[in-house]
Symmetry: D2
Subunit: 382 residues, 4 copies
């Protein structure tokens, strides 16, 4: 695919997912971390308008000057932005206006892409497409969060029961201690936080080729895992108590039987399916209960060549910190990753909500240890 | 009009107002006290289903058993209810489903009304219609609140500039001290909190026939009214400071000129128009600055026969408390008024958002002293 | 007693109560509404320094210029003040310094009082002494609040079991409807909010000569009073739920038996003793349960000549609002009462914590309806 | 020194510091993280009573059974504990009782220590003494926090101006890449989180032998460091805005000149002295502004043999995570360190508030990145 084909392809995927939404579904924001669909649609478009068309396209007319204020996410460089928590307070611009905005920018982008072969600009377009793929993942999990907190548990679409996958093995792998090279070493796209391949010393370890299942986690619950403080980090224990947690997100005990909400509606928990929607605290407590631990991101990256991954984002026991030679880009693009390098834990792999061709074994995802609305999972090590 | 005609008439008015809304406008709740349009549409319907059809109509099938949970407002008698602050968290049931609910109940109600002449039931229907008229008023002010907090200040409809009225007189009335009869004494509908006509002794007073204008309030602002603590009640002073208030709600100083948001869009403040959107604290501070005071609800009711009213809800200096012979009805209907008789101040009159035939000079409206999203005004007395 | 004798007398009473405190007891503030003893000692002294000595005494040297900032309570006229909630954050000035401040001001006051017979100044001194008597009452209830929330329930002093009084009658009084004169009509000291005697029309009523006992309130608890929403005002019901209330303040069920904390330590609840430490919501719910109601402040004042009172502050069903001819004084003294006339309910009578000669049947006390750390009680009417 | 001499020595140091406190200073808690002096005195005593005397001493009578509830800090194993934020709500037990408790336990400990040579018990005693030394450090910083937030800036003691030290060099050290051994390898006391010496690969780096001074940091402030979002981590930028930070803690601009609060009172900022009281966000932003970075804890440990340290706790760019072979002890002692391994950053070195012989270059201190009430500093690397 050339760049224009890639552009059309990625942009269409976003719209295709949204075609299942009702108008009312586009607007609401329940929590700070989950944005409305309308905002995702506009923000990904704003990226191309602001970083590609405005500085580079001849005679480009901005679609609506107010949109910069509304659809900037966190790029302080680009000016005032609406608070993240207020994104759901706005019924206008309407969905129609947002789609008109997308169409307008898509048209201008396709014209523009024919006129340029500037590597720096094309790299930014590729960044924009990867950025949109990240938002496709968030779209899925944010819509699930909204519908999953509706007391009616509405069905989004029957094709979207994303938590049904099972493991195909129960083996583990032994890795020998030594110096390993960590970080992206290829020639294709990657994020700045993966760059600067560097040596890391890793001791001997043995890591599972499979992810923890609902059934295994259910045993932990039955054994009183949520009420034994010995298993928990202090912040995790406070989180459990303050929120009265006793199961993964979206699990509901109905007439003595555990169900969970999926985008295909409420279903009985399948014990053979891979566990999802647990946060770092829960992952860590479960590992403690098993007498095992979570891998570091280095151990994961080294071993990942020998197991299947890509169904769940996998919590590691590494904090999100810069690689030794990390360099922040200048300008707004430099705000993409570096400034979040505190109070976050690394996840590796990819999930069922991740777009095709948007995963690498050097990819470093990161979330607050309390968050669990992503399709997260647990891989154990000893 | 017979009861069926009245029913159709009131129900249609609600829908007529909503016809100007976009789908996205139906869903959002910005603050606890202002509910989404979707909720108002469903809740007023739920009232007829729950209090008329379910106990009285033969073979009535409930439209959706979950709706009781969703659209109960504050009637504890009728079971669990969704928290008021969460009404905007639900994209489903969709607008289509809500309108289907309305149509279903309206059809059943029209059939049922032909079959009954039970005075008690018909009184409840009348209560339901008055209840819906109250919600029509809230619909207008809640929609204004949502759109007025959108950074784009969208136009709802050009016919809805509700704050443009001016005074036609600058006279005042003298009333002689004496015992007066207070409360509803007619035979038509009124709320329980107006009943129990009773004697009240009132001293001599002189009350204005006109309401305070934007121009007069602007003088108060220019004179530093918002920064002179001497004029304010203690709670009011804290409210001003905590929220950094320096004008009525919806006023914005743009390029050195005061504008306000109306449902017809942003406009320059008309100094001759009657002031609106001030709370009790502001009304009280303004009166203090003028060396005058607000009327009690008794003074207002006595004098109201001699002046025009109906453009603004007028703050009085009376707390919302029961009349001497107040009796709470049994059951859910008894929760309508009595339980709010604390921490509220009385407003008398009616406003431009009030439905036709939904105003009486004995009507007792009540709000927290800090609220100002209604079309509130000030009448002075000495 | 001449004014100097009165001055010495009142000032000594404050110190006498504090003589039972340990140094550690002087400092702590648990909640916004209950100030540390150290602050009461200093603030009452500051009143005399600021309003009497500074403007009137020849060559008076202020004890410490920083004290105005620290010990001003809510007099905005007199300058910046420390936030009420921060009064317990300061270990310094030390108790020794506070007592030195008291001694310094007392000495200067006694010298000054010999030199003046200016009525206006002497009236202000009298106000200062009444002000200090109000703080004596608060000292007792604030110390009780602090010690009563200590998990050890420490004994303050064995003489201070203030909740032991019982009723001596079970009769009621009938009052005939008519116009009555309300407000202070004597020549001695009273507060500005009692002035402006005025006519009020009151219907027939019958009021109890006795106060509700612990035993009667216990029946209400046993009958499920705290879990029947029908009995409660809406704000009261929210207060019960949010705070999980199921008894008056200071009551603790220990091994199936109800105890309460008194300043003489933890004791079994005496069912014959008069109930105390309930708020307006509880008083109102109890009355509702009994099929009776609380008196208005007018009914109370009229009937008070015919029953004994003075053990509990009695909740009335009147909001705290100005009398028709209420006039706020100029300057700081004008901030004493008027600015609190919102969101408060009136209490009449006096309590066991009230200083001798600091009670009148026209006295208007006022608190938020949720507060219950005072010695409050219930008198019923029908 | 034998163990008894060590015991007496450490215990006396705590009391010696407290001898400068006034009774009022022992009681107050301003923020969750800074405990009252009274609590530190009791909690360190409780440690010896609970972990040494109760399980091991013959016929030991617990001083007061309620003290376990009060003076347990975070050992869930040992039972219910009072919330950390409520430690300042208690005037009782009084200071006298706390000192009686100390004396009682000290006497019993000295008797007991004569009777045992059980290595496991003596190791626990040593842990208790190190624990008390940690609390001595907290005592100093917590007292400074309380007095430093008093509007009078009281002098604690003239000997305690702890922020006056200057640097003696401006050189840097080059370290060659390679595998280094990290962690405690000696035979004396260390904490569990230092154990498990292990290999870490570290690239070439050059690190300063000196710490950042007030003068250098002042340049950062003058250059607009606090208002340039490019320099800040996202959480840090939010912290700056929410708290309106524009200088290190305890700095106050008075009449155009910067002062800071020291335990010897308010003083002019000495530009040559070593900077203190900045948090991780500030340290990181400063490094960014200099075009340098903070060391990792491994770089720091390796280089520490070649520079002087011990005046400030030095922020590193390492998150607090377990070493590869970290093993949590069983029981309450196992709660000492491991459960805090999330959302904290590592500090290395020691500070002027650290007790003599309580520092090692393998010691791993850790705090939330927003905290700055410790004597923290910055060492730069490139």
């Amino acid at each position: 695919m050339n760049i224009t084909e890639k552009y059309i392809n990625v942009r269409n995927q976003t719209v295709a997912f949204c075609s299942h939404l009702k108008p009312e579904d586009y607007v609401i924001q329940l929590v700070k971390f989950a944005s409305p669909a309308k905002w995702h649609l506009a923000h990904t478009t704003w990226f191309f308008e602001t970083f590609i068309l405005m500085p580079n396209a001849t005679n480009y007319n901005v679609f609506n000057t107010n949109f910069n204020f509304l659809f900037n996410s966190y790029y302080n460089t680009v000016g005032d932005r609406i608070l993240q928590a207020n994104r759901g307070n706005m019924s206008r611009p309407s969905i129609d206006e947002i789609y008109a905005y997308r169409n307008y920018v898509d048209e201008k982008m396709q014209i523009f892409l024919k006129t340029t072969d500037d590597k720096k600009i094309l790299d930014l377009v590729t960044l924009g497409l990867n950025h949109e793929q990240q938002h496709q993942e968030l779209l899925i999990t944010d819509v699930k969060y909204m519908l999953g907190h509706n007391p009616f548990f509405p069905v989004f679409h029957n094709d979207y029961n994303l938590v049904k996958d099972t493991n195909s093995t129960n083996e583990s792998i032994k890795i020998t201690e030594g110096l390993y090279k960590i970080g992206y070493q290829g020639n294709d796209f990657c994020y700045d936080n993966e760059l600067g391949a560097h040596k890391v010393y890793v001791p001997n370890f043995e890591i599972n080729k499979y992810l923890v299942t609902n059934g295994e986690y259910f045993e932990f619950m039955e054994a009183g895992g949520y009420s034994d403080f010995n298993l928990w980090l202090d912040d995790g224990w406070n989180w459990v108590h303050k929120n009265q947690i006793n199961s993964p997100m979206y699990w509901h005990k109905i007439k003595d039987e555990w169900h969970y909400y999926t985008l295909a509606g409420l279903q009985k928990v399948n014990k053979n399916a891979i566990l999802s929607h647990i946060n770092y605290y829960e992952a860590n407590a479960f590992a403690e209960w098993k007498g095992m631990r979570l891998p570091t991101e280095f151990e994961w990256e080294i071993a990942s060549l020998q197991f299947n991954w890509g169904k769940r984002w996998e919590w590691t026991n590494s904090a999100y910190l810069p690689y030794p030679e990390f360099k922040k880009e200048n300008g707004a693009v430099g705000e993409y990753n570096g400034k979040f390098m505190i109070n976050k834990m690394i996840l590796r792999g990819a999930s069922v909500a991740t777009s095709k061709n948007h995963s690498r074994n050097t990819y470093r995802n990161f979330f607050n240890p309390s968050e669990r609305w992503q399709y997260t999972g647990i891989r154990l090590i000893k």
